[in-house]
């Protein structure tokens, strides 16, 4: 019943189970056809809801709006109210004098920021690291989730799942210490090399491979944690679809390609969009700890920049300016990512 209902909607590949998984975010969206109903729920609605007047829509969506009130209030109080703090970016902010009485300098902080080679160095590092992580890290949890999903024995599956979760709960200090003990200059690997008269390679202090090192640490620590969301999405795929496809003669790989991946698509896209918006957060503490190992030229990212050259030197306004720069870029990125998702016919953050 479910299959039939959706496949009637999916014009491009009729008969395929591809678009058929219910309960999957993103699926009902209809690629590239803005005017057409977005999904089954609309198809049962009175036509052209956009033209309904506000009053009627308000009456209809009253409960929905009411439901959002608690969160909206919390955000207004604890997130929006404190936004007055951002004015420090336009001040020569002296904490002792306070936000209100500090000297107003307009865009001076931004002017200085944009002319600061250290700032641009950190922007560049941030972007480079973000790109590396996007390519190397992002697919790992998805692949892991698929791998785990294919394991038949529930006991092995839950065991591996629980184990991969563990490193997420290690602090960065500990993760880096562990890496150091394994591949550091005096670690297991290099002592082995030395004892066998081979040239040791101190990976931890080599700026040229630093970004790969940092990414591998992220993978080790958080890939296992990252799979949880995908596992939830996998659990939401209707088992009957697999059975039906198998009956139709689709093999293991075809089933993964045509049922599993489409089933995950909505979540993957959502994660990707959020990831892009978060591109400028590439691990403050992790880089802070390793900053002196490879030097600030290689390790400084936007967050560590505003920490060291803003807060760390009492130049709060400067740090706040760097923060605003980051916020604006992030918002632009998530907006762009969302647009991009829409142009591929995906929902992204919200349905087009």
């Amino acid at each position: 019943m479910v299959v039939a209902a959706v496949t009637t909607n999916s014009a491009d590949v009729p008969g395929r189970a591809e678009e058929a998984a219910p309960g999957l975010p993103g699926l009902p969206g209809h690629p590239g056809a803005p005017g057409t109903p977005g999904g089954p729920e609309q198809s049962l609605r009175p036509p052209s809801p956009r033209r309904l007047n506000r009053r009627i829509r308000l009456r209809r969506d009253r409960s929905l709006l009411l439901m959002t009130v608690p969160v909206v209030v919390l955000l207004l109080v604890f997130n929006y109210l404190p936004l007055f703090g951002t004015v420090t970016a336009f001040e020569y902010y002296d904490p002792i004098v306070g936000v209100v009485n500090s000297e107003w300098i307009g865009l001076e902080n931004f002017r200085q920021l944009l002319g600061d080679p250290l700032f641009w160095g950190s922007v560049w590092n941030t972007l480079e690291l973000a790109a590396v992580q996007l390519v190397l890290f992002f697919p790992v949890p998805v692949a892991l989730a698929l791998l785990l999903n294919s394991v038949l024995s529930p006991r092995i599956r839950s065991f591996v799942q629980s184990v991969t979760l563990i490193p997420h709960f290690f602090s960065w200090v500990l993760v880096i210490t562990l890496f150091q003990q394994m591949i550091g200059g005096a670690g297991l690997l290099n002592q082995f090399l030395r004892q066998h008269d081979m040239t040791p390679w101190n990976i931890m202090t080599d700026p040229s491979v630093f970004k790969l090192l940092v990414t591998s640490q992220v993978i080790w620590k958080d890939a296992g944690w990252g799979i949880i969301v995908f596992l939830a999405a996998l659990a939401a795929i209707d088992e009957n679809l697999y059975e039906a496809a198998a009956m139709d003669g689709a093999g293991r790989w075809r089933r993964m390609w045509h049922i599993t991946l489409p089933g995950l698509r909505g979540v993957i896209v959502l994660m990707l969009v959020l990831r892009l918006g978060n591109v400028l957060n590439v691990g403050f503490e992790q880089l802070l700890i390793q900053r002196y190992a490879v030097g600030h030229d290689a390790a400084d990212v936007l967050d560590t920049f505003s920490y060291f050259y803003g807060i760390g030197t009492n130049n709060y306004g400067y740090g706040a300016a760097a923060g605003i720069f980051k916020s604006v870029i992030s918002l632009l990125l998530i907006y762009g990512a969302n647009k991009l998702a829409h142009s591929f016919g995906e929902d992204g953050l919200y349905r087009k």
């Binding site: 479910v2 955000l75 349905r351």
Partner: protein, 309 residues
Amino acid sequence: MSDVTLKARRPSARPVWEEEPTAVGQGVKGVTLAGILVLVLGPLWCVVITSFSTQGSINRAGGLVIVPHGLTLNAYRTMLGDGPVTRALFVSLGVTVAGTVFSMVVSVLCAYGLSRSRSLGHRFLLMLLVVTMFVSGGLIPSYLVVTGLGGFDQYWALILPSAVSVFNILVLRSFYGSTAAELIDAARMDGAGDWRILWSVVLPTSRAVTAVITLFYAVGYWNSFFNVMLYMPTSSQKWPLQYVLYQYVNLGTNMPGQVNSGFGNAANATAPLSLQMAVVVLTLVPVVIAFPFVQKHFAKGVLTGAVKG
């Protein structure tokens, strides 16, 4: 034949329609899984063994212990032997339970409230939410707001300011947006209101994601101590477990700007590594206990059953 008995014993093992696994496939899978296990369990071994090691054993290793030379329960005795830990454990449990319930209620409501793609103002509200992920006024103003509302030394200051995770709401919403859309529509046709639909249609059909988000919130509350540090720095009676344990973890970590004062060993004493690692182990315990409950909801076919039912 054997297949049938197997299936009877473990209902979620290979279904009848699925083909026999190939030897190569199984081999590759096995090696990969074994590799992953080694990569995680190896370091975990170091951590656990170090937590049980004597100071002599640790000093001989010059860091984390790989091969144990002397084992002791001292680290755990030091931490768990005192009264404060027991009280802190209850504080932690209280904050975690209350916080998670509160967060889940507001998040689920909000996520469902925003899940209807044509509802009034949902796009504006979404923007309102998303912006807070990237824009922040900073610590000072947040601190001033919370203390201005009388949050100093209050338990609610540990919950309310961080009760909403927009990320979690977005994930929930993305699942609700289409989960059992059929059933929702059917229910609406039957004249059910949104509250009723949420309660008796959406929630029962999205147990996996509910479990996951509950886990996210609970872990967040359990591990958080930043707010404690800000809002109840000297009321040691009220501290939750993580903050009490935190004293051991970063003991001796030099803060930027802290000069070596030479007034004795107090400030530069390094916490025994065994204590630090015992804290890590203790942090893992509740997760290891709680995770199977979450995992239960990932079992294949959970949703199918519900939808069909």
